[in-house]
Amino acid sequence: MPLRVTLDEMLYQRRMTLTELADAVGITLANLSILKTGKAKAVRFSTLEAICAALDCQPGDILIYEREESAE
């Protein structure tokens, strides 16, 4: 998928674990894990807001669009 979730890197920079983020954001660890591994089909604005607030970052810091080189 050309859209990549860089939650891992952001968490590393903030020295925060996924469990801590889950607690801060108020969503389940399971759902956050789905987001982190790029298995989510959609993200609610409210979730994005809460994550950005907790990590003190912009949506662009955790979502990156990469153009597929081999696309036909």
Partner: protein, 162 residues
């Protein structure tokens, strides 16, 4: 509760099939036994025996259609109890039920033709009248199957939304 009712209905359904089968065997294997029953039709007796056999045949095929509908309905009731009814499996079940009901309607129509012919030949009423309800139910089930297909896709979408 509904589940037990449906399973009971299907058991009755197959009991009916056993009855139909037994009568069919009797009709062909022991014609002498049933001859007195058909004697009242006089010159039409032979035709009535054939018509009776055809009716029993229609009945037997109807049992299969009813079995398909009842088993699918039981499975759907079970899935509703789990709280996750919008699945592709249920969409497929509804579609199967629609086709089974269509088969049922066609069999009913076939019996109708038979009943009208028997009535015309013997002057007796064989209890058949056309109805629109079943045909509407077929359409309703097909539409519901599509709705469930859409619902299943939406449920997947919601579950993958964080």
């Amino acid at each position: 509760m509904v589940r037990i009712l449906l399973i009971g209905m299907n058991l009755l359904n197959w009991a009916l099939a056993a009855g139909f089968g037994a009568l069919l065997v009797l009709l062909f294997a022991a014609p002498a036994t049933v001859a007195p029953t058909f004697a009242k039709f006089g010159s039409h007796a032979a035709m009535m025996v054939r018509a009776g056999a055809a009716t029993l045949g229609i009945g037997l095929v109807s049992v299969v259609a009813a079995h398909m509908i009842l088993t699918r309905l039981t499975a759907m009731v079970d899935s509703v109890a789990t709280g996750r009814p919008f699945t592709l499996a249920n969409a497929d079940r509804l579609r199967t039920m629609a086709w089974a009901l269509l088969a049922f309607q066609l069999l009913d129509l076939a019996y109708g033709v038979l009943a009208i012919r028997m009535s015309a030949a013997t002057g007796r009423y064989f209890g058949w009248s056309p109805g629109i309800g079943g045909w509407l139910a077929v359409v309703l089930l097909l539409v519901l199957a599509r709705v469930f297909r859409q619902g299943a896709a939406m449920q997947d979408e919601v579950e993958a939304t964080v």
